[in-house]
Amino acid sequence: MRKTLLGLLGTAALLLGLAAPALAYEPVNIVHTEKVQAGPYNLTVGFSTWPVKAMQSLDFTFAPEDGIADKKGKLTMFYGQEEVDDSPLARHPRKREVWGLDIHAMPAQGTWTFRFDIDGPAGPATGELKNLQVMDQPGPPMGLSWAISTIPLFGLIAFIVIAWRRTRPANR
């Protein structure tokens, strides 16, 4: 019993020891920026990968020139002309001095617009990042990815069909 406990503790220590370096959360590395003028507010939009590709997640940062301390805001996303999402501007979880979106993926390829409604000491104002081009998704076509990923489901269905045939009421 003692040996088993020691073995389990050793395994846990080894696992956590090896895991420790991987627990460090990656910093937000901005590789591209765009400027947005929202009335009196000068906003810098940062991207952690560029160009942006559909379904590929990245960090977005939204940094007003004189900080976010006394401001509030809302981000509205448009795909073409269609409003897709709106949410309050929140601090980036790994870069708390600016607003942002962490590991966020744009769902579809095409032209996107980010509209920023900002309210601060100089009053409310609106600015837009227009013509954000999101490229085609990387990797295999989604049909192939779904086909690979649903093999367990079809395997289970095949098993059920076999079991069904072998347990027909007439066979009892």
Binding site: A19, A24, Y25, P88, A90, M142, W146, T150, R166
Partner: protein, 363 residues
Amino acid sequence: MDITAVAPSTRTVPKGLVPAGLVLGGTLLSLVGLTWDIQWHSDVGPDTFFTLPHLFLYAGSAVSGLASLVVVLMTTADTKRAKDVDPIVGGRAVGVFGRTFAAPVGYLISGTGAALFLVYGLWDQWWHGLYGFDAVIDSPPHIGLLLSISITMVGAVMVFAVAREQRWGVYGVIAASAALLVFSMVTSLGLRAVPAAFANPVSVGTAFFSVMILFTAAHALNRRGGALAVGVSVAVLQAVFWWFSPWAAKVYADATGLPLRDYADGIPGLPNMIPMCLVFVAVAVELLHRLPVWIPGAVGGAVIAALVPVQRVLVHGGSFPVNARYLTTIVLAAAFGALAAMLGRRFGHMLRHLAPAKENSHA
């Protein structure tokens, strides 16, 4: 020394209970990991391969998989030595890779699910390398992982169904079915990939899996109260996770020095995917047991789909439009609910065939 004198006071664990308990325990670890992970992403955010919720998910499949592997190897060894194999442990043994292995069919399924989890873990790693560490629950590899765990959970239902003549078998079928039902609410999110502008495929899927698993368990146990017991167990899991998920996310965030997101609403993610009306649907299934199964199935499916947006409004606030899409979803859910009830009844009978119980001794 007279060793027989102590024998009567020695309590033995029923044969088959330990490995079945380990498989069920593994699936519950997976379930805890999943609800914690979903909450972590909505309330806190930052992700790595080795977050604690992820470790729960990996450990769950590892425990279930290793328990299944040990049973298969022991059964294989017994078969090679021409020893009798007791089918109370996972059901009748079937040959795998010719006759290289002899695997009780329940453990074959639970172990296959765990092995698939490993394969889909690699597929998921490759995906994250290409698409980034996207916290998208319904990405194709995540659905592959969820389906793999679901297969282990189906195996868990099977290994307990074999022992349904015993009390631990009955309780095990109820607990394993409840775990599978709760887990299927997340797997159903994969249906968002189905292009259906005229109806909500996730609501239909939620209704289908709920009704099917309720009927499967009820008919496997073949006793009054089976569906209600699963419904109540699901409600208990929902209540416990409703408290646990936001609490665990906050405690883990505090422990790792990470702040909660601005505007995090703290609404439990996974528990809120479970229909709160399920226990009433289970009562209806019990009360309508004399009718053809498709009738309570259709009623249950329609009620679940009709109340999905009502639950959303209750929890999140706002409103929902009673439009053609909503009505089409209810009609489709009724049709799929009827089908699910018929399938569930048949699956219940199939589970009874696994068992070495008295009434099937001639099977």
